[in-house]
Amino acid sequence: MTNDRFGLIGWLLAFLIAIVSIVIGFVWFPALQANALGLSWWDAICRATGITRPAASASIASSAAAVPTTVVWNMGTLRLIASGNAERGKALAAVCAGCHGAQGISPSDAFPNLAGLPVAVLYKQLDDYRTGKRQNPIMQGMAAALDDQKVADVAAYFASLPTNLQSPAAAPPSLVALGNPIRSIAPCGACHGPLGFKEGAPSLEGQKSAYLKAQLDAFATGARHNDINQQMREVARALSASERDSLAEWYGKPQR
């Protein structure tokens, strides 16, 4: 008999604790938060269950010029890029050979190699020229003739060419391998190789040194500003001129 009574008390207690904690977790705490955050009661309770409304985004004033790029890495963009047709792109790319080489390997130090770059990188840069987010008189003129699909086609063509990317012969310098945490400099190699690659970040090994140097300088002064979260401008500003030189030198060096 006493056993039964203890059992009953145990169950009731467990049930009571569950009810009280549901009230605390889903009603009381949200109500307190509602005051602090200026939410309505109902919104606060929904929030506690995990349902949120998209935040009103109008508060951040943004002029079109302050937006670094119109490329967004969402599924639509990735699908568009994936739909690029290298054959069509080859026909469109005939005009590119003058500066970037017949096989995407540039004969001049001033112009970057394009062969075998990640397709998302090629797409974004060409699209940024088209929308004027990245500025260069020649390239903006070239890109103006293209539409979304054609940009993807050209990107697919250059991505399909055999790369001249080579593995480094020597261990990467410290800025490439480790960055410099004290100065908030992320390791270059984490996004641009050889350590790893991020969507939209070009692989740099084997790229033209003079071109890389010019781009780093342009990021540092803000003349180039199509990096989505300003990460390249931040890093380039934090680097000294001689560091920018030696990084461009290392990545551009004909390696092995």
């Binding site: 056993n3 604790i17 569950a18 904690s21 549901i22 605390i24 977790g25 889903f26 705490f29 949200p30 938060q33 309770i45 929030r47 506690a48 269950t49 995990g50 349902i51 890495w73 599924m75 990735l78 480790l178 945490p181 004290i182 350590l195 969507e199």
Partner: protein
Amino acid sequence: MLRSSRLVLSHFWLAFITFAGFVPLGVWQMWVRSPLHGGPADPELYYRSVTAHGTALAYVFPTLIAMGFGYAVAVSALDRPLRGEKLAWIGFALVLVGALMSMLAVAGGNSSVLYTFYLPLTGSPFYYLGVVLVVVGSWFWVGLMVYNMVAWKREHPGARVPLAMYGTVANALLWVWTSVGAALMLLLQALPVALGWTSTVDAGLGRTLFSWTLHAIVYFWLFPAYIAYYTLVPREAGGPLYSDRMGRVAFVLLLVLAMPIGLHHLFADPNVGAGWKFLASVFTAAVVIPTLLTVGGVTVSLEVAGRLRGGRGLIGWVRALPWDRPMVLAVGLSLVMLGFGGAGGIINMSYTLDSTVHNTQWITGHFHLIFPGAVAIMYFAIAYDLWPHLTGHPLRSAKLARVQLWLWFIGMIVLTFPWHAAGLMGQPRRMAYYDWSNPAIAAQGPLVSMSAIGGLILLLSGVLLIVVLLRSQSGEKAEVGALRYSRALDDASPLPRALNSLGVWFGLMVALTVVNYGYPIAQSFFLKNNTVPAQSVQIGK
């Protein structure tokens, strides 16, 4: 000799080979991050090592021990041959193949996703398939444990299921339900992206499903240790178990509560509403009850044994205990580590306090105190206890075994206490290296060095374990008698039916899972904002 001793011994040996192979990786990880090492290691190698250390020692090693110990309990506590031994061998083979497969995939450098998977990171499909095979192999064991208990009950109507078997089946049921979360994540999310069938994955859902497994899996590892606390320790100490019924209550409470509370691993995840997190915090607090019941029950049993051996006074009984026996020494050391680890765990489970320690080195410290500390030291004691019954050779070098247990305890304390301190100083876990030239973190350097030394002590202890087991197995044969379990003071008193079966508790566990996880999982069907492109860690992708 125990029935099915080859089966049990195979599980134990494969477990300890895995142990010996992958403990050194952990030591290496600590070493290369510490100021004792010249400079940073290759981060790629570091994360490969973390993935291998975790996968081998958290998935393969304890699963094999739980399976092997379960078979040993089934044949000895029920005192009859194992039914379905062929299936048991198939399960063993699946675990072996799965372990090899996942370890090769990790060694190839294509699967450094860490053993917690971290979707949207995706590794080689062979890695995921290997882990799935290990889990599927363990499901054979689950089926056999339930089948053997049910068959025994049918032939012994009204008889009470021996406590060791009751706990083993409770653990099997806990495991089969808790492994479903990770299995769903692996089969429905990780494998499709790893095989290239889809390019996006709902990272929030992946983490939610994994947390379903992530917490209760620790209780799955813990159960064999608790079973030993209740059924082997009092016998070794020379007394009875204080209460068989209390053991059953602790087992069923663990079964019901352990699984649905994994949500507290998502305290920092934005996709889960704060209300659910609070609820998880409350339910997690409830797990303290079966743990304290166990600590209390075992301590009382030890006191009874100590007084039976002539101990007097408030703590005189402690001194009277036979500390020279590995099982008694192990339980003493285990309870100390469980105490510290449990206290840290209470901080982790508090929704607000957790924000101080979340994803810091503190968590690594907590986890190592509990699993490789309090739990694994009982695995060693179980192995020492079973070895004569499995091999027919009595345990040689009992003194070496005691040294091994002490070194494991000391090493674990030296490893984990500095981790806790560094975590409170804000040191994040799972960093491939620390920049010791940075004055902001330089003060943590000596702590990391201390942990590395703890790791070396643990390595030495691990070597001694293998030496003791090998030496004993190659010694002279002798008659060792049957494997016996503790008698309980309340063995003869009537038992409520609910404490002699597990169906109702299994049902409660499932119901509580639906309460805690139903909505956080269901929301992924209409909230799509957690779906992100998969990030392959495979070389060349």
